[in-house]
């Protein structure tokens, strides 16, 4: 199987990292990303990348490599993992805070 792909960007208004979801909207969690699993879907992501670069919702649009690990999406490059979670030196900041709260909720449930 070829590498799984997702489309990421930063939201124009506040710069927050976002990923394109299956619903066509931009979401704040990598887990909500639409995953392109075959060539046609990857080509669709590249088309979406071109369209997104022209609108006024997001900036710095890029296709990234991901894989599925233990029920979560995992970015293959460290840079993308840091974007998905927040600074590794400030675990109290960024998306990792919400991610950790979600995991805690799941464990509690």
């Amino acid at each position: 199987m070829s590498t799984l792909k997702a489309l990421t960007a930063n939201r124009l208004s506040d710069g927050i990292a976002v990923w394109l979801g299956a619903d066509g909207g931009w979401h704040e969690s990598l887990d909500e990303a639409f995953v392109a699993r075959h060539e046609a879907a990857v080509s669709g992501l590249h088309d979406a990348e071109k369209v997104a670069a022209l609108d006024n919702q997001v900036v710095d649009v890029a296709v990234i490599d991901v894989e599925e690990r233990e029920g979560h999406l995992y970015a293959l490059r460290l840079r993308e993992r840091i974007r998905a979670l927040g600074p590794t030196v400030r675990s109290d900041l960024g998306k990792q805070v919400e991610q950790s709260a979600r995991d805690d909720d799941a464990i509690a449930a």
Binding site: G15, L78, I82, V89
Partner: protein
């Protein structure tokens, strides 16, 4: 301190209004990102990994308490409660919303600050010795000239679209604390035999992927020719600097490719045309600007000597902090305090909004309302009476700002690296934290003595790794972080680019490698007073390479 006049106020307010309009047009879709990006960069707004980043200029590193309180306020209201002081004497906010940035800039304008020319191919924030005006070894305060350069270079129409960014640094002391030889122009303010003030002029220093030490092109430039000569340098660079390749566009490459002698001849020829013209600085203008930087009226405080001596005897921690973080002021009853932003295991250069408020309060009551930012990512209280040092220390302890490590191995420069920066290939901060914890014991730091570690997360070298006594460069290799070690760099009077010692180290091995280098130094030094860099200059790289990689024949 310099105060804005009506033109400065009007200019900055106008820029804020323009930027607000530009942001509105971008958000509404009226202009594209390609059109908007250069506009936001001209106002210091970058996009990083997690959010936008706003870089605010602190001209020549001098701040008032009121300005520091505003920086704290911005951190608290528009960011996540902290800011990062940089190697350019600036402050960066890591989480501002684009839509808030015009309001942030408007708030900064209230305290005579802005973010203009903190990005782009223009003349950037002019930096200076952080002890300017107070250092006991100083010939004259370089800040009036830095301010003149700031005013002259602000939206200078001829120099707003240079081949690449352009950085100017000044010192007025024989001991260079401003790293002037690593800048595009370095200016050393001094006196000639007649007592007249002028500058030794260096050009073509820089770090990045092609590090170069600046070349001295003039031993004495009379002070009134400062703008004419700087214009001549910029004009030659603007005309001949390469625009075909951004990695070869800095003036250092022009100096290297043209040759220092030939380029100097071109600059001198250009200067000959400008000399004595409109750019000549009238003495009364220099005096008017200098008046803003006059030494405050410091009361005699000779009582402080005995008080200080008694407190030092009473408290070893206080005594160690004074020994490490306080240096002589021009006034014998006063000292210059370096506030370390390098707590053991902390993030170099970061300060919380609360800490900024505390520093502002201390400066207001005990340092003539003045604060400095250093290019080594620390803060300075420039005018503290010796008799007030105890109170300053106690208040810094309360604010967790009293680490006694100035110039020691844990006083590490580190860029934001891959934890924040979109350009980075590897993280810098966790490496700095790990080294800081490894060497955190005060006794061990004292034993090692002065040692400057500088860490960058990419070849752009914002963390100044090329001029670290021990430099660390993070790279990405096969998808993982790897750290190259350089030794023997320095950014002082004998500026030198460090030598890469061999293959890189994995993240969990780099602190061990640093420790090997340090232990090798301790074994090699002639005596406890011989610093790391002195030992390195005496013995060269080989003993360190052998310690790290084995005998040369066995080295990979």
């Amino acid at each position: 301190m310099y105060r804005y006049d009506e033109f400065d106020h009007a200019f900055v307010r106008e820029r804020v209004d323009q930027f607000r309009d530009q942001v509105n047009r971008r958000v509404s879709g009226e202009i594209t990102e390609d059109q908007f990006k250069p506009l936001r960069l001209m106002n210091g707004v970058y996009l990083q990994l997690h959010a936008y980043m706003l870089r605010v200029a602190v001209p020549y590193g001098t701040l008032s308490s009121r300005q520091m309180r505003k920086l704290a306020h911005i951190a608290r209201v528009y960011d996540k409660g902290y800011g990062h002081f940089t190697t350019r004497q600036n402050i960066q906010y890591n989480w501002p919303k684009l839509v808030d940035t015009p309001t942030i800039l408007s708030e900064l304008a209230e305290v005579e600050m802005h973010a203009i020319q903190t990005s782009g191919n223009c003349i950037r924030n002019v930096t200076a010795d952080h002890f300017a005006g107070v250092a006991s070894d100083e010939v004259a305060d370089p800040r009036p000239y830095a301010e003149i350069l700031r005013q002259w270079s602000s939206i200078h129409p001829e120099f707003s679209f240079l081949p690449r960014k352009f950085k100017i640094a000044l010192t007025g002391a024989d001991r260079d604390r401003a790293a002037i030889q690593t800048h595009d122009i370095g200016l050393h303010l001094k006196r000639d035999d007649t007592g007249a003030l002028g500058f030794a002029v260096y050009i073509g220093g820089g770090q990045g992927r092609t590090p170069m030490v600046a070349k001295k092109i003039r031993d004495f430039l009379p002070e009134n020719e400062l703008l004419a000569y700087t214009t001549a340098i910029l004009r030659v660079y603007n005309l001949h600097g390469r625009r075909d390749n951004k990695y070869k566009a800095r003036i250092k490459i022009l100096v290297h490719e043209t040759g220092t002698e030939e380029l100097t001849a071109q600059i001198e020829a250009e200067w000959a045309k400008l000399k004595g013209g409109d750019l000549e600085l009238p003495k009364k203008d220099i005096e008017a600007i200098s008046a803003y930087f006059a030494m405050p009226d410091l009361p005699e405080r000779s009582d402080g000597w005995a008080l200080l001596a008694a407190e030092k005897r009473r408290d070893a921690d206080f005594s160690a902090w004074v020994a490490q973080n306080v240096v002589a002021h021009k006034h014998p009853d006063y000292g210059i305090v370096t506030i370390s932003l390098k707590p053991i295991g902390g993030i170099p250069g970061d300060a919380s909004d609360e800490q900024m408020e505390r520093v502002a309060d201390i400066a207001e009551s005990l340092s003539q309302d003045e604060i400095r930012v250093t290019h080594e990512q620390n803060l300075v209280l420039p005018h503290v009476a010796l008799g007030d040092l105890r109170e300053v220390y106690d208040r810094l302890v309360e604010a967790e700002l009293a680490t006694a490590n100035n110039n020691l191995i844990t006083d590490i420069i580190a860029c934001p690296g891959l934890d924040y920066c979109a350009l980075a290939n590897a993280r810098s901060i966790p490496i700095a934290q790990d080294i800081s914890r490894r060497f955190g014991s005060p006794a061990r730091q004292q034993q090692i003595g002065e040692l400057k570690i500088k860490i960058s997360g990419c070849i752009n070298a914002c963390g100044h790794h090329h001029v670290g006594h021990i430099g660390i460069l993070g790279v990405e290799k096969k998808g993982a972080e790897l750290y190259q070690l350089t030794l023997g760099g320095s950014a002082d009077n004998e500026t030198a680019i460090g030598e890469i010692v061999g293959r890189g180290f994995e993240p969990d091995k780099i602190t061990d490698a640093v420790e090997t280098v340090v232990e090798t130094y301790l074994g090699l030094r002639d005596n406890a007073d011989e610093t790391f860099i002195e030992t390195y200059r005496r013995v060269g790289a080989q003993p360190f390479k052998t310690a790290l990689y084995g005998e040369p024949s066995k080295a990979a």
